[in-house]
Amino acid sequence: MNWQQLRAILWLRSRLSWNQLRKGGPLGFVMAVLGVVSGYMMALGASIGGFLAGWHLLGNASSSTLLITWDTLSFLFLFLWLMGLLAELQRSESLDMGRLLHLPIHLSQVFLFNYAASHLTPSLLMAAPGMVAIALGMTVARGPSFLLVIPLAVGFLLMITAWTYCLRGWLAALMVNQRRKRSILVGVTVAIVLLGQGPNLYMNLSRGGSQRHGGPGRAAGDFTQWLHTPGASAAHRYLPLLWLGQGVASLGEENLLPALLGAAGCWTLAGLGLRRAYRSALRFYTGDTGAGRVTAPPAETGETARPASPETEPGRTPGPRKPLLVEWELPWVPPDAGGLALASFRSMWRAPEMKLLLLSPLLMLMVFCAALFGSRTSARALPPEFLTLIPTALIMFLFLGMTQLLLNQFGLDRNAFRSLVLLPTPRDRLLLGKNLAFAPYALVPAALVLASLPLLIPVPLESCLAGLIQLPSLYLIVCILGNVCSIGVPFRVNPGSMKPTKQSAGTMLLLAGIHLGFPLVCIPIFIPPAAELLARHFGFPPLVPVNLLLSIPVLAAAILAYRATLPPLGRWLQRREKEVLIRVTHEVE
């Protein structure tokens, strides 16, 4: 460790933060201060609460209670941690090692600093002080042997953060210029979602609706029973994620060895993970991403395919070439709007973040069905009014997941927005093209979900059909809102993720408000099902499909509203395009 260099690193980081803060304006400053203060409060609250809980609640708890408590704590933390990870999968380094590579600095210091900075997340700010405080509380109540919980718990947390750090580095390496590999990112995200939702899904699906009346108490009972099986004790011995619970429980039986072994194991695993992460980080920044070795087979096939094409190319006239997607003519759409729609669609199709977006409705459907119903039988118990509303509500939720993109359509273009500004195309056509480009992403998965809904839960078929009409209606309405926001409050997003950068505090608050108010925008599509419920209430003949019939005029109204707003919004975009360009590109950093 070189103290002078470490100080230089710390100074650099604080300087960077300070410059960022200064650029953010007074509102940004206030929010940053609030963030720091709430972080402290969370840590403080977790410490006090943890200490009291450890002292009083766990003061003379049985060893199996200790096991359940600490297993639950472990999993709770793991769950929160994974959720946080989802928000930002790619490694975002506190200090970019790539820029320091040429300096005579110990890179391991920078690496350790970045690793340490990666701990500044809400879940860890609560978990680390909380767990240590519980351990102290138990020490006060039960004796000094419980001090061992501290290294055990810290080792457990470090083990998890070290290996996630490693995973994120690995993902970062995959993201470098290997577009096919980028789809792995999607796979990993899905895996994490399933991991988080897995137990929930399993619980819901495995137990029938009749057993659900047992509630959480019953689930806890099941869990306690499981703990006494031989499988459970083996799991606690061999699964590192359970070592924390196992160690604390054995301390309760005054057996120090498992806790000592667990702590040693956790620390060792943490060290191994960190070493791996450091090595892969070095390889990453020196350009040796392992692409030559690990991905050799796919690269090879790509190469063999490529030399073949230049041979056939010189003699080939442009004629017989298969038409590109961007060459297609879209019916009823002006050719320039169609061109932009196809080019944007193509470009987004290859962006990994779009694949995530496409998968998320399907995941949501699973989670939604599992959480709400568990099984068909329990859904039958629901009032039929509720079922009528479900397709419409589902549409609203599906679009809610897409607002990030729809409300910031030029943010995803980044530099490419510059070429849009340079075009002579009327601006309302640009908006139309953009809206069309998003339409397949918004509509197709949602339509699939709606179509498969009757197979999963007993919703009336008529509501689903009506939903298929409400879907384009809401899309048009959201497009109007999206166009307004895309022009009015655009912001830059990082490539490969949906994370906003360069977002001023004012924009952030405004957008948060818009997201909160999103259900208001959805009111029009709730009119038909609400009318249907009213009609049923007043004894309207049940054979008249009110919901379906009313959805049609709503769609017509949405089309008219969209067409009416397009020209004025186009003129607004024309006036504001230079400002939008500055907001969505890198120029001022």
């Binding site: 210029n177 577009r179 790509g302 490529r306 094409s309 230049p310 190319e313 442009p318 590109l324 997607l325 961007v326 060459e327 050719p335 320039d336 169609g338 061109g339 932009l340 196809l342 080019a343 193509r346 470009s347 987004m348 199709w349 290859r350 962006a351 273009d413 980044r414 530099n415 490419a416 927005f417 510059r418 070429s419 849009l420 500004v421 340079l422 075009l423 002579p424 195309t425 009327p426 601006r427 490539p495 024309q574 006036r575 230079k578 400002e579 360009l581 500055i582 590109t585 890198h586 120029e587």
Partner: protein
């Protein structure tokens, strides 16, 4: 002689700094205008304002006779100009052919014309064998060439190029020069910024020099050649200090 570019007191302020300060450019039609200046002089800022990527904080611009402060006129004028901006504006996730096709469609060109010109441009720029690559995977020089191809595709009357030779290898640079000469011989007006004097000296017919946001010289190349080399004129106009380098005495 009609003017392709005419600005009056053009200015742009960033915070407290005046990046461009009262610029009065006169660029005749059909000329090859070299816009020179040291780093940070305001060249890119000027070209962004001329092409409508950045709003001026003062003054006015006329391009090919059109008043650029009127958004509709500015948009229509863009039909007649091609631009290679400082930070290019390519779609990362499109291939070169897809990008050019897209540009062609946005200019409402007929499909077979787009296909012919795209093929020719890809061949001339040496990009025809990169069909599978996304522009994301292009090198900096390849991106520049693709952006230039996109600017040439609609056959514009006027081209704006911001540092077209920066980061381009010798072979491509030669090719670029040939393409630009072809454009000039077809009557295209060229406006090019650079900080490389040799290229400007070889190619341009008209030279403007900007330093700290102010136009310090604007002359036909012939006149400059008559009165010495471009480098001498540039250094005297910009006001450099040869003695500065001697201060680094410890640099053995």
């Amino acid at each position: 002689m009609s003017l392709a570019i005419e600005t009056t007191q053009l200015a742009r302020q960033f915070g407290n700094t005046l990046a461009v300060d009262g610029l009065n450019l006169r660029v005749p039609k059909g000329c090859f205008y070299g816009f020179l200046g040291p780093n940070g002089a305001g060249k890119s800022t000027t070209i962004k304002m001329l092409t409508g990527l950045l709003a001026p904080t003062g003054g006015s611009i006329r391009i090919l006779g059109g008043e650029m402060s009127d958004p509709d006129v500015a948009r229509e004028t863009r039909r007649r100009i091609g631009v290679v901006p400082e930070h290019l504006g390519l779609y990362d996730n499109l291939t070169a052919r897809e990008y050019l096709t897209f540009i062609g469609r946005m200019y409402l060109m007929p499909r077979d014309v787009i296909q012919d010109r795209t093929q020719q441009l890809l061949e001339v720029m040496g990009l025809q064998n990169e069909e599978k690559k996304l522009t994301l995977e292009f090198s900096h020089g390849m991106k520049k060439k693709l952006a230039l191809a996109g600017a040439l595709l609609p056959n514009p009357e006027m081209l704006f190029l911001d540092e077209p030779f920066e980061g381009v290898d010798a072979v491509s640079s030669r090719l670029l020069r040939d393409v630009l000469k072809r454009c000039i011989s077809h009557g295209v007006t060229l406006f090019l910024t650079s900080h490389v004097l040799e290229i400007v000296e070889k190619l341009c017919t008209e030279v403007g020099i900007i330093a700290r946001g102010r136009l310090v010289m604007q002359e036909p190349m012939d006149q400059i050649r008559a009165s010495g080399s471009l480098e001498e004129r540039f250094l005297s106009a910009v006001g450099s200090d040869h003695l500065e380098a001697q201060k680094l005495s410890w640099l053995e």
